[in-house]
Amino acid sequence: MARGRRQLTAAAWTGAAALALVLAVTLGTLATVALRAEFASGLGPADWAAVRFTLLQAVVSATLSVALGIPVARALARRRFAGRGLLITLLGAPFILPVIVAALGLIAVFGRNGIVSQALLWAGLEPVSIYGVQGVILAHVFFNLPLATRLILQGWLAIPGERFRLAASLGFGPGDIARTLERPMLRQVVPGAFLVILLLCLTSFAVALALGGGPRATTVELAIYQAFRYDFDLGKAALLALVQVLIAGSAALVALRLTLPAGLGGGLDRTIRRWDAAHPLLRLQDGLLIALAALFLILPLVMIAVNGLPALASLPASVFTATLRSLAVALISAFATIALALPLSAWIVQRRARIVELFGTLTIAASPLVIGTGLFILLFPIVDPAALALPVTALVNAVMALPFALRALVPALTAIEADYGPLADSLGMTGRARLRRLWLPRLRRPLGFATGLAAALSMGDLGVIAMFADPEGGTLPLALYRLMGAYRMDAAAGAALILLASSLALFWIFDRGGRLDADA
């Protein structure tokens, strides 16, 4: 027992160090900005309007994404078909793309000149209008439905095959399966997925603005921009950032309270066969759902590829060096994410430290502008910020990707501990042995997913690099913006294709590595 205790302490120490780093990057930078402020004007009615709009659009977007994600994930979980693996990989694509690339892809499909409108005109109907509330929702669902699907699918795949076998032998129909197996799993996975998407929508303002059709689409993050750009009002920026974190924190508290712990007993990792879903009507329903979701997600990606291909041959060399730089940053930040996420997950699960999970999840709600400024204020007196552009980008990206990694790892580790923890304890398997013999083998799938996601996210993120970049050292997203900013839209389309391809490749390599066994 004493030994186990000491080992736990070691795990907690590593976890505490990881948490300290995360807090320094998020709340520490916020405090730095606030301390640097000379004055702070309070929040006016316009700011509160921004808070209300931010909350509203985030709740609607997250609800829709999750509500649509559940049936799609269920369909993917109980069907096997050619191209399923590819489709699951492509599910990672939309939300790792820089906003502007994804928005242009959406416009190529749903815009005034897009293929949907062209088809409608050809059929003698009115073209669709993407701009307005429907545009914001469309874009957010495009970004987040795949993420919701992936996170929920992760939950479905974690239900041991033996339970479905048992259910089949008891003669359970789809309704019984839903009640006994799927709903408990959903209560475990859905609040977390909802939370992550809600937080993502809280801080994403470029989409809301570009497709929202007007200034009513003002989010808190935009108000932070305004405070910085117009009045150099650091106090107000910090205050708004704090409001954003508080909203996110309250949402996280509610979501984590709603999450049910697992506890039904383990399985033997057999391939899952679903006797319950053989009914032709169910097959049709699932097929339709998958086809619709695939079409909705893949068409814009195809348009990005089609627009980008002609420019590939004539891209400036700087785009390729920027690609290499981005790949390096992505790999470093992906491994940093795991290095942070694994000890934190262990701490959260073993100590039931929900508060740690809360802090680890809040990082998405931190304003990139405030993080960048805070780090700048901290680093500027010591070193040349441009010299640290890439390491800082990697670190901030790692912290930003942490909530996704925790979403994948914490439920999985909770299940492992519930299923095998007592056995491991009775064998005296602690510390390293437990990590190597129990956790790592059984966490392969979520680890692969989390690493891939973190790498791809970092690849596509503009984040703080814009604040620190030196002229010769930009990443690929920055190079893409530079091309567009210089009217060179064709070359930018080529760069967008490279970005899409390399993000997907990174995601695929890690994610595939994690699920080599079950999805063949």
């Binding site: 303002f205 603005l209 570009a210 007007g214 150099f232 700087s318 002229p471």
Partner: protein, 329 residues
């Protein structure tokens, strides 16, 4: 201990080298130093004669440049900031970070008289609505046309973008107290408001709207770089609002003479002749060879609108409130 000695040695070498070649640090916006931007040619040309090392440090745009300099304060390495504009000048003056330039001013080719001796113009253009002649045979010639007819427009948010802020001032300077009513009439035509110029111009090229808020000089890019003369910018009878981009010397610069030398160089032919086809703006001083083809044919508005002076920030806040109020109705 050894490592320390080596480090000290390196530091000594570095400072000796620094003593031989002075370094001129210029803070500018990102697109200025892109390989297709003006930066590389200008760096090479200035280093030929100055016996110095010119180093660029970048931030996103003019507003971010000013924020960054205010964050860094007197400790900044910057000797020159290049890329603020008329709308930022009042705030920049008030910051007290900049010093008057000690240079001989050549004759400037600006639509207005220039009096400021701290902020030196290097290029300029008018904000304008750009359209595709093949898609829009009847372009607007005034805000009245824009409000009366069935156009679709893309603009940028004044809170996050320079042209977006320009339009806010433009409407305010044309309509004064009636600006809110003007926005209420314009809003139904506005397809969407994007965070930056990049997004809306990209959407315009995809055919999402008839008109996009950009510059009168934007069509020159399509003519010169793409051999495409289908784009045009509408000159308005009300006048078009000016953007004048400026550079200034930092008061805390440790190379003030070199900084002045650069500001003088900035108004010379070697700098100014590069500007039109790299920054796609009018040069502040007419180059010896005149303007390149593609610029000569551009339509020019008869009236130039601009707010200069200390109350710019108040006008901006008032105009923004009106814009937001109009959108809420």
């Amino acid at each position: 201990m050894k490592a320390l000695t080596i480090a000290a040695g390196f530091a000594a070498i570095a400072s000796a080298a620094a003593a031989e070649t002075p370094v001129l640090t210029i803070y500018t916006y990102d697109s200025f130093v892109a390989e297709w931007g003006p930066g590389p040619a200008i760096e090479a040309a200035f280093e030929e004669s100055c016996g110095c090392d010119l180093q660029f440090v970048t931030a996103g745009d003019g507003a971010e440049l000013l924020s960054r300099l205010r964050l860094e304060g007197a400790r900044s390495d910057a000797d020159i900031v290049l890329g603020l504009d008329n709308n930022l000048m009042a705030a920049a003056h008030a910051s007290g970070l900049f010093a008057p330039a000690d240079i001989e001013m050549p004759e400037l080719d600006l639509p207005i008289d220039w009096e400021d001796d701290t902020f030196i113009p290097f290029d300029w253009s008018w904000f304008a609505f750009v359209y595709d002649k093949t898609r829009l045979p009847n372009p607007p010639h005034s805000f009245a046309d824009l409000m009366a007819m069935d156009y679709s427009i893309l603009i940028q948010d004044p809170r996050s973008s320079t042209p977006g802020l320009g339009l806010l001032f433009w409407v305010k300077s044309v309509f004064g107290d009636q600006a809110q009513e003007a926005w209420e009439k314009l809003n139904p035509k506005i397809v969407t408001v994007t965070k930056g110029w990049t997004e809306s111009y990209g959407m315009f090229l995809e055919g999402e709207a008839d008109l996009v808020l950009s510059y009168t000089t934007s069509p020159a890019y399509h003519v010169i770089a793409e051999d495409d003369d289908s784009k045009a910018a509408a000159a308005f009878a009300d006048g078009n609002y000016l953007q004048i981009e400026v550079a200034a010397k930092l008061a805390a610069s440790d190379e003030p003479e070199l900084a002045d030398a650069f500001l003088a160089f900035m108004l010379s032919d070697a700098f100014q002749s590069v500007i039109p086809t790299t920054n796609w703006m009018y040069p502040a001083v007419l180059p010896e060879g005149g303007l390149p083809d593609g610029f000569v044919e551009l339509e020019r508005p008869d009236r130039s609108l601009i707010y200069l002076g200390d109350d710019v920030d108040n006008i901006r806040d008032e105009a923004l409130d009106e814009w937001l109020a109009a959108a809420a109705n």
